[in-house]
Amino acid sequence: MSHAKYNVINTHVHNIDGVAKVTGRATYTFDVKLPGMLYGKILRSPHAHAKIKNIDTSAAMALPGVKIVVTGKDTLGVKQGIWRRYEELCDEQVLPLEKVRYIGEPVAAVAAITEEIAEAALDLIEVDYEVLPAVYEPLEAIKKEAPTIHEGVERNVNVTRHIEWGDVDEAFEEADYIREDWFKCSGQAHMCMETRAAVSSFTPDGKLTCWASTQSAYYTQGLLAGVLGLREGDVRVLAPYVGGGFGGKFELDAAMFTSAVMSMKLFKPVKVCFTREEDFIASKRRTPMFYYVRTGIKKDGTFCARESRMFSNGGAYTGMGATALYLSGFFHSFPYKWRGYRYDGYRVYTNTLPSTSMRGFGAPQAMFCSEQQIDWICADLGLDPFEVRRKNGHTEGYEVPGQAFIQSCGLEQCINEIEKWVKSKGKLPANRGIGISSCGFMSGGIFNWFDSPYSFSSAVVTINVDGTVELHVGCQDIGQGSNTTMAIIAAETLGVKVEDIRVHSGDTAHCPADLGAWGSRQTLMAGNAVKMACEDAKKQLLEFAYAEMGINIVYDLDIKDRWAHIVARPERGLPYVDLVKKALRAKDGQRIMGRGYYTPHRKGMISPAYSYMMQAVDAEIDPETGKIKIHEVMTAHDCGQPINQLGLIGQLEGAASMALGYAYLEDMPMEDGKLMNPNLVDYKVIKAPEMPEAGIIEIDTFEPEGPYGAKEAGEGLTNPTAAALGNAIYNAMGIQMKELPITPERVLKALREKKEQEAQK
């Protein structure tokens, strides 16, 4: 596929807000300070399951400096959820009225003149609980005799999801070999640099302004309006800078809700910031999953059928878990062609911290099971794992029956490149192995469970007299660099430089609505909206250029590098800035304004486009301690046309650190529903010494649905890593790791069992 030569796209562009960030000038919600602002703190449940019999706030109210104490009774008691279209999935009162369902659930909030006083007041709130029997694991909670967590929900099954295509049973009949395995995938904390935070200011005109650390200002606006009984338009959400989200920040959180409730009662600004511990225990997590996987294959390596059952630990509420349940099942089939495929997912309520979406959205768990099992099957049958993946992999034009249509697919090239890379490594020393894993991911979801009446993405572009450009977008920069990506697309489309563009985002009052930063959607969806808006503006400008230049209409015009010109004769033209001035004059002083939007139509059930990749992990195992050392991670990656070159490298490295953390370090152990490591000494995120070299081989494809051929890059890169590490360990030591994280004692246990088995033989 030959590409047009781009001036801005895929060039070395620094993050447009980089200077503000590294010099400390960027204003995060944590930095917001308003006149008369009060500080809020949240009292949290120490019980995993308990009835709230009474809450006595009088002693706390009497503490000098305390301005208000609120409980569920001071709210409208709305059961909310981000799956707004489905009432039964709106199951969470942020300040519950009747009972608490996990340790850390908010029960009351205080606002005081200082944070210290607010914290002291929490001790004075008397909550009378009736402790109820609790259940923590999905396979326990689904039993008949398990305690009921939500009234009327049978066996605590929150949502189920069935995906099926082809004649599965018949396809299994054709298989020469069938293998089944059970896997256990752990949870993971999002671990955003910025903890949950909000500053709410309600004014006597009945309007609420809320600065929030959110992945979607628009969702926050809609959800806040819903729980507060306000019109959406009376709620303004500001999120100028957000310190990370990773899937954990697009639901309504307790910082947003309690600050807003207290501000509405006091007509004063109230700030609520979570401590790191609060963020760990009460801001949701990656969904822990139990997977049963049964796969049938022919002797020659052709995949026949797969049947999987998955039980996920939903925790106390739905959140985004319902989407994770679907996507895990869908990507569990990826990136292969199955004649028959059947998935049954059960999301089960438990009395633990709710689980939700997190970078990869259920796919890292699904791939951990699928991609390891494929390698084991290859070993069982003496097949080449590269060849088997190539043979069964998605190709351009393939339709995942009833689910998705694949327009661009560089999977085969990815497999070829990684195969070459692995072979170039030659024979490895003892106890060292390279494992591979392939996968794909979506470029934004097609679903609209939020029931947004707005298009999925929108953009407005306005051109000033000096040629500078105001770009208003609803997509949310949460540190991933979407503002830079949008500036690149705008600069390329308009034919100007990145420094000509000022991006306005994170403000529902001034920016058009957009579903926000989740599901890897913004480059494709918001990118299309920005491109359309800029094309609209450019077309208007060029109308004046035609008139000005008086040329034959058979010629077409374009703007590149601030020069409006005849495409066929680039030397003939006029400066872009002159053109802007002329257009302004000709339009009676109205600025040129372009509008763009994007909503996917007729693109299947999941996403308009899919990225593909294969990753290799080179790891060494200390046979005495079971400890793992990662030497290198190499990824061949098809994200269509890369837009933001540096951003892509940042995403790759960030994903490698997060996914490796998930694979062998990070864990959320609980005892009776209580998280045992809610701090950064005991919760093991990857540190600099553990971070391996992470390389990338870009595979060139062109995605017709994406702006300039672009598709997803960044989230999907977390999908293959745990499986690739598992396969590396399998290749190095011959042991099969079926549980995450792959800790040293699990490695040693597997080595011991292998020895025992060999001794028996």
Partner: protein, 333 residues
Amino acid sequence: MRLPEFSFHEPLTLDQAFATIKKNNGNARFLAGGTDLVPLMKFGLETPSMIVSLKKIEGLKGIAEDNGYAMIGALTTLREIISSTVISGKLPALSEAAMAVAAPPVWNVATLGGNIRQQTRCVYYNQSRAWRLEKEPCFKAGGNVCHAVPRGKKCFSVYCGDIAPALIALDAAATISGMAGPAEVRLIDLFSNDGLSPFTLEKNTIITGIKIPVPGAASRSGYAKLRVRSAIDYPLVSAAASVALDKDSIITGVKLALSAVGPAPVAIDLNGVLVGVRIDTADFTALKDVLPKKTQIADNLALPGSYRRKMLSVIAKKAIMKAAERAAEKETI
């Protein structure tokens, strides 16, 4: 989590420091680098009403070699220890142990004395006040249960210091100020082996310095630490060893100390094991026999006790090998 209120003093002499602390009815704490004390205060585990900083007191800092001894002031930072060529050359276990502490920014403030005198740790104890609220207080928090060993009759918190085992293997002694008894105490004798109150020193005493005999060229030391990550993490098990070789690379003496095995570091009596053999042909299987069969290792750090127990001999061997290789290297020079 915010620090509770306290008064703060910065005396200029040791006498002033003791006088200030005496006035305060015992609810005062000395502050050196603060990397152990401050997190404990944030968790509400230490609640001093007064902090007496030692930072402005002269004569508590510095490294000197004197009459066959290395003398190190207790307020010397880990960074200064790591940067010292005397220590890295002749007392490598100490250098290595200091480098194994937390991460480089911590080295800049954490001190030698403070590191030695750090509190014992436990996942059921090192938690915020809110976390501990609905759990019965454990022994260390003033209660009557142990959550790590549910039927345990005592505190199973773990001494997780990196520096102390290195100093024990190096035969070091500490000089103490503010105590009625002897002013010089062998490192191992600083420890009470009681998780509730891990030190034999009285509360208002200060370690002022460490004195280490500088070994001859044929004796070298090493430190090995098992932890989850190579930065930040406390040891799951660690070992320090000094090994002396004769000119034929035959081991003439081994000193071994373990940390993170219970409420105190443990000096191991090797009972002649490994002595008299060449290091390259040494058989380490006998090492298991001399390691303590009954440790106080419980399920209260990042990885299970059963795993940590298995790792004792592995890590001890690593420390001995490091020391021996260094001693052998020196020999050939």
